[in-house]
Amino acid sequence: MNDVSITLPMAVPGKEYIIQSIKKGAAVADTFRGYGIFPGAKITLLFNSPAKNPSAYEVMGAVLALRKEDSNNIYISPAIVK
């Protein structure tokens, strides 16, 4: 179901998700775009740091670390497995 969206930190590791939206006013939305983090893009949670925050995500073949404070602004839904 695509319309059920959760925030990024709730993702199950190793499972692919599609970014639905990024909360308005998140000052970082601009910066995110260049990293490939924008609505419609795919994202997968890979692993957490020892303190569980930040976490590493795979986006467009690269590994990016995001703090929970930022990833909480990103809404995702599970990608449909073909």
Binding site: A26, A27, V28, D30, T31, F32, R33, G34, Y35, G36, I37, L46, F47, N48, S49, P50, A51, N53, P54, A56, V59, M60, G61, A62, V63, L64, A65, L66, R67, E69, D70
Partner: protein, 600 residues
């Protein structure tokens, strides 16, 4: 005769600087973590009848970014100053790179794409259809391996023959990234980055993450100590042998006694100390550190430590600049440009000096070996390694505490958001890294020895030998400083040595020795045991040694670092603050230690 200005653009950490170095024969520092290039380097090369001026722009993820670093790149491209934009892309991560390529092709069609790191892609089973990519993007595309210059003849020929007219066919430069990726890239393994993922799970795991970090640090120190021992001793004995020879020679040509003493006791002693005691550890530590850097471990350290830094109101990338500080604090301060938020950048700049740079390690090592460990050689150095690691951890702890205090007081604010890229691991070119960095270090240290240590040696000798009243200027100074020194558990000579060590940390110990020598105690110091005898003879105790180590860790940044701080902050006030803060902390800790020792 053609002249072309070519701008190198690309995502951070795709090997732009390696391409730049390979093209221009220059030696921009490269390392496997995003943001290594913080200044625009310019280099030239001649090809056939043309001259290419290359500009290595800082890495960017997009052209309209908010970070000041990336803004430079964006503005440069938009200004149209470059005759040609050479886009460098990472073959192992083409999809994300296409975002920037798309951005660039929207504003200019004077572009050539260089798909670099083809060797890594091959290793990971990633195949790229270069022909097709070229057709779809409507710009020339060349596959390269910058480290071995594979593909460079084609690249140069393309740069040479490229004229903007040929691609001005009004192609629609808006393309679908997913389409292009699907058409040009085929994977022969299901997960091309499986090795990276496995290793990442280990080095960032809850249980092993921190132990691995500390063990690596310990291992580097231990190798440095064990390895430096032999060249150090060989150099020392060579220099003391030479010492006699030169003295005999100078006396035989009837050189005045004053000159002999100034040259040999002043210049020669300082110079040979820096070369024999300081150089070997530096020449070993630096390449080891560079290997870790090239491998891609540093971003993982930043990843592991980010939470701690966040709690202190600091930026996660501060651990990267802190790591750079181990090499050189001035470089670390400059590296703080990778931190976007001005507040957090300032915190990182001010606290950078709390980790000891290369110029301070050998001093720490020597004192630890003399006063903290005794016993068999290999066990002794292992213990010394542990102790040094302990002191480094204290330095890191103070970095964090001070960051926290700053973000609670003068630099109030919330931690800003950021994205930290964990780049793929790359196999460092071990041989060339070792040879290059040992060589570079040696040249660097020798250069500083000649420019700073040698003149200072003479200056201090003069201070020690010009008498006012019945004692030397140096004695007047040290006696004046002595009461203050006593309060913090050291003596006037040590305080004086740190002050005179302002131009370069390397000369702190030789200055001390010279001061002690002028009181007639020291004659020779070809080994650590003799050094120990001298220092103990001058009243050094365990507490003195501990205090000197603390002062070595926490005192004002060296001259070069201060200048860099001034340049980076543009503020005399913050430079003064960065100067005073560690000094006050160092003196404070030593005062407390002394208080405890006198009470006990």
């Amino acid at each position: 005769m053609k002249n072309k200005t070519i701008a190198l653009v690309g995502n951070p950490n795709v090997g732009k600087s390696t391409v730049f170095n390979a093209l221009t024969g220059m030696k921009q520092h490269t390392g496997n973590w995003p943001g290594k290039t913080v200044t625009n380097a310019v280099g030239h090369m001649r090809y056939k009848d043309a001259t290419f001026d290359f500009i290595d722009l800082p890495g960017a993820y997009s052209l309209d970014s908010s970070s000041p670093d990336e803004a430079v790149t964006g503005e440069y491209i938009l200004s149209g100053q470059a005759d040609l934009v050479l886009i460098v892309a990472d073959a192992t991560c083409l999809k994300r790179n296409l975002l920037l390529i798309k951005d660039i092709l929207k504003v200019t069609d004077k572009a050539v794409l260089c798909v670099n790191l083809m060797d890594e892609a091959r290793k990971k089973g990633i195949q790229l259809d270069i022909e097709k990519l070229q057709k779809l993007l409507h710009i020339p595309v060349i596959a390269t391996v910058a480290r071995s210059k594979e593909g460079f003849p084609q690249l140069l020929e393309t740069l040479y023959s490229f004229s903007p007219n040929e691609s001005s066919g009004m192609h629609k430069k808006d393309f679908n990234i997913n389409d292009i990726y699907r058409q040009c890239v085929t994977l022969s393994k299901e997960e091309p980055h499986s090795f990276d993922r496995k290793l990442d799970k280990i080095v960032t795991s809850k249980i092993l993450g921190f132990p691995v970090m500390i063990l690596l640090l310990l291992m580097i120190f231990w190798i440095t100590m064990v390895g430096a021992n032999y060249p150090s001793e060989a150099l020392s004995s060579m220099f003391s042998l030479l010492d006699e020879k030169i003295r005999t020679l100078l006396i035989s040509v009837n050189a005045p006694n004053v000159l002999v003493s100034a040259l040999m006791d002043g210049l020669y002693t300082t110079l040979t100390w820096v070369i024999s005691v300081m150089l070997p550890p530096m020449a070993i530590f630096f390449p080891l550190f560079t290997l870790l850097e090239d491998f891609g471990y540093l971003p993982r350290v930043a990843f592991n430590l980010d939470n701690v830094f966040k709690c202190c109101g600091a930026h996660g990338k501060q651990s990267l600049t802190m790591c750079m500080g181990f090499g050189c604090n001035a470089c670390g301060v400059m590296g703080c440009r990778i931190i976007e938020s001005p507040r957090e950048r300032l915190i990182a700049i001010i606290t950078n000096n709390f980790v000891p740079c290369n110029g301070r390690f050998p001093t720490l090592i020597a004192i630890i070996l003399i006063f903290f460990v005794s016993g068999t050689a290999s066990l002794g150095t292992l213990a010394a390694g542990c102790i040094l690691t302990g002191f480094i951890l204290i330095g890191i702890a103070v970095t964090l505490i001070v960051s926290k205090l700053l973000s609670k007081t003068v630099l109030k604010g919330m931690p800003s958001s950021f994205v930290l890229e964990l780049p793929p691991y790359r196999k460092p070119k071990i041989g060339s890294v070792i040879v290059r960095s040992i060589f570079d270090r040696t040249v660097f240290v020798l250069g500083r020895a000649i420019v700073i240590a040698a003149p200072f040696g003479v200056l201090i000798w003069i201070l020690a030998n010009i008498k006012i009243g019945n004692s030397s200027i140096l004695n007047h100074c040290t006696e004046f400083l002595d009461p203050f020194g006593r309060v913090i558990g050291v003596d006037g000579v040590i305080v004086m040595a740190f002050i005179l060590g302002f131009p370069a940390n390397e000369i702190v110990v030789p200055v001390m020795l010279m001061c002690y020598m002028s009181t007639g105690v020291l004659t020779d110091y070809s080994s650590l045991t003799q050094l120990q005898d001298t220092l103990v003879g001058c009243g050094w105790t365990f507490q003195t040694a501990l205090s000197v180590i603390i002062l070595c860790l926490f005192h004002f940044p060296c001259g070069t670092t201060c200048l860099t701080i001034k340049k980076e902050t543009g503020s005399l006030k913050w430079t003064a603050f960065a100067f005073l803060l560690p000094t006050v902390i160092g003196i404070g800790i030593c005062f407390i230690i002394n208080l405890f020792c006198t009470l006990l």
